[in-house]
């Protein structure tokens, strides 16, 4: 999906935060650490989740959500433009399920 399309889907798009902004915000709360350290911390967290999923492990973060890997079997797909049959290899896809507390926080007192 293109970025423009993704933005159009968020009704009342309330802005966004990218990784560097996340790092800056955490750095602001930790004046005793270098921004470089915070960057390494954020990357270590994301890297560890990625590595776990690559091993086929599950990552469960209580109050936030759980990442897991789902396997999709090989199938015969169609090229929607030409209608030609194409074989699609089996693959694994990452999956995220929102945690209970997170779900509640998204919906309290809006």
């Amino acid at each position: 999906m293109t970025v423009a399309k993704a933005n159009a889907n968020e009704q009342g798009a309330a802005g966004s935060m990218i990784k560097s902004e996340l790092v800056q915000r955490i750095a602001g709360q930790n004046p005793h650490l270098y921004q470089r350290d915070i960057e390494n911390i954020v990357n270590a967290v994301l890297g560890e989740i990625t590595a776990a999923l690559a091993r086929g492990d599950r990552v469960e973060l209580r109050g936030f959500g759980a990442f897991s890997v789902k396997h999709r079997p090989a199938r015969t797909g169609r090229n929607p433009r030409t209608g030609a049959h194409v074989s699609v290899d089996q693959k694994s896809v990452p999956f995220f399920k929102t945690g209970k507390e997170m779900r509640e926080r998204l919906n309290k007192a809006q």
Partner: protein, 106 residues
């Protein structure tokens, strides 16, 4: 191969190994990372983490659902849900397997 569950403790250990802070401080920082992301999403903002993926909050309107046990129709109230869109890089890593080689059998 699969079956293990990675938790906060493992993330803290990874930070401790890679960054050289104390274990206590590593744990605090991991918590801060999750809290910042959560707070942002709670405000309805998208969180984009390059080479990992993005978390998006979607608004759902009211719709009619059905109680699967009784078969009774019940209205489902409007709500906000959070979805994770994995980046192409993450999807690629998962299909490449732990050692980066291409993995045919799961």
């Amino acid at each position: 191969m699969a079956g293990k569950t990675v938790t906060r403790a493992d993330l803290c250990e990874a930070v401790y190994q890679k960054v050289g802070l104390s274990r206590t401080e590593s744990a605090t920082l991991v918590e801060m990372v999750l809290k910042e992301i959560t707070d942002c999403l709670e405000r309805g903002e998208t969180v984009k983490l390059s080479s990992f993926g993005s978390f998006v909050v979607r608004k759902k309107g009211q719709r009619i659902g059905r109680n699967p046990k009784t078969g009774k129709e019940v209205p489902i109230s409007p709500r906000r849900v959070m979805v994770f869109k994995p980046s192409a890089i993450l999807k690629q890593r998962i299909n490449a397997g732990p050692d980066g080689s291409s993995q045919q059998a799961p």
